[in-house]
Symmetry: C2
Subunit: 340 residues, 2 copies
Amino acid sequence: MSDNAITVPPEIANAIDTAHRIAVITHVAPDGDAIGSCLGLTHLLRNLGKDAIPVCQDPVPYIVNWLPGVEEFVRKAPADVDLVISIDLSSIDRMGDAYDAGTLGHIPLVNIDHHVTNTYFGHVNWVEPRAVAACEMVYHLALAFGYPITPQIATYILTGLLTDTRGLRTANVSARVLRVVTHLVELGAPIGEITELTFNRRPLAIVKLWALALPNLRVEPEGIIWLVITEAMRQEAGYDEPGDGGLVSFISTAEEAYIGVVFTEKPDGTVNVSMRARPGYDVARVAFALGGGGHPQAAGATIDGPLDTAVQRVIHALREALTEQKAARAAVPQPAHAGK
Amino acid sequence: MSDNAITVPPEIANAIDTAHRIAVITHVAPDGDAIGSCLGLTHLLRNLGKDAIPVCQDPVPYIVNWLPGVEEFVRKAPADVDLVISIDLSSIDRMGDAYDAGTLGHIPLVNIDHHVTNTYFGHVNWVEPRAVAACEMVYHLALAFGYPITPQIATYILTGLLTDTRGLRTANVSARVLRVVTHLVELGAPIGEITELTFNRRPLAIVKLWALALPNLRVEPEGIIWLVITEAMRQEAGYDEPGDGGLVSFISTAEEAYIGVVFTEKPDGTVNVSMRARPGYDVARVAFALGGGGHPQAAGATIDGPLDTAVQRVIHALREALTEQKAARAAVPQPAHAGK
């Protein structure tokens, strides 16, 4: 990963300059970076005198529901805008119902995204996979064009940056990223409060879900650690959000494990499989083979149930993949302290 | 908290200049900052041509046992040194058996520490409570005196700084601290690897302990969340380190809780009580009343068993304290987004 400066296409400033009413749309099932970048950009534009509207098909997730202004999101972009900016999404369908091509297809579309898989669907496309978050791109955009970053905007941007890097704990956190974080704090983003509200706070239902799910933890001798979350557990815990409440990340920290897996039973009988691998190992290929996707260290898929059959199938595939990967690693020398 | 520059007393450089063989001693029951600052300073001194020895009475804890050179620690400072530097400890007894006053009392002692409770027991005392970690002081010392910070030394310093700030998640993380972190990364500290080894890795025994302890989670209607760790659970999990394996921090994140408590039964029949409070609430006063100590947000005590009696006593005291604190808070307006 290069640590060089990130540059911003000047066409984006031109598009903004001539626009009056702008829809800023982020992706379905938004995460902290989607919400933070969308609100950050919206407020930058408003401070320029633009009429800017944050748009997202789905509700704001718990982790960032404390941000000021989250109630301003609308589910669908209005038809009377003269510019659409999409943020943090790699293909046009990721806007879901928020973007109606029938009414908006003729409006200029600026595509701002940090996913390497971006399909360049905009009239102007700024795709920067080196950015650790869409929020980092909003920061560079503001700096490049001289848009003022208020404390509130710095808060949006830093919140998204922190969530996409799991609190600066991902491998792509470089000196450049730390300089951005430092500057945002200097600009007034309250990093302590953001961290408290984003990382030190979860619904009691998640704690209860962990209490119900952890006792059935299983450890395979090869170094695969896994557990299941049944629909009954989710109901008993009162946990109605999607996802595993962070369980796969937690069990995967066990030093004895190369791979961690959580199987979550869904109401429709399918099974969500969420996998993590230590650096140096890979769960993406197994996820692809199961019809899912992801990165080497974090991948997933949704497969047919019932639960028992799904577990057997996935554990079998992971066992084979792990045996193969261990053999490949044994054939090349490994750097010191690079994990197991 | 001030964000002004931290200055280093020049007397420390004088003491180092005239010394040849230096014992660098850190505190009993060392944490990541103790080990990181002790090794960082040791290596700075060695690069100046000094014979420097890292000293600690107790073993290096799991969280930083991956650092290079941890095997060089000796349990007791040799008698033939001509300078002693204590690092990260507030009173002379915190060195335990590592410091023998009978043989070392006449040797110059430099006291470097960031605890506000420091007793100024050295011949030279540099106490800087604004520093978020003793490691931050080692950084400023190296910069002030022009001692070169190699990538290995930057790694020691950053590791201790990250552990004492729980991965930059404490309220004292300021722009100054972030500038230090950025510089250490620029100097070659591999922040991604440090984070992976320090925060994304724990013994399987801890995961098993959580699986055994979490099912007995209890939530009091007042907003106190608690559980017990019995000696039988610790044995079944195979967890033989002190502490609760992070459980009190985890359960205290539940949004519905103002206070979290973990009761750990000890082999001698006493009970360790570990408490956490949300910002704005205080568990230190209850800890003091129980004969323990700590800070408003994190405090603890060791009290008489049996477990049931200890639980009743503490929950009763916390209930009263919480009722009182809620009443006091209700009487003054609270800032927005400052938690409940």
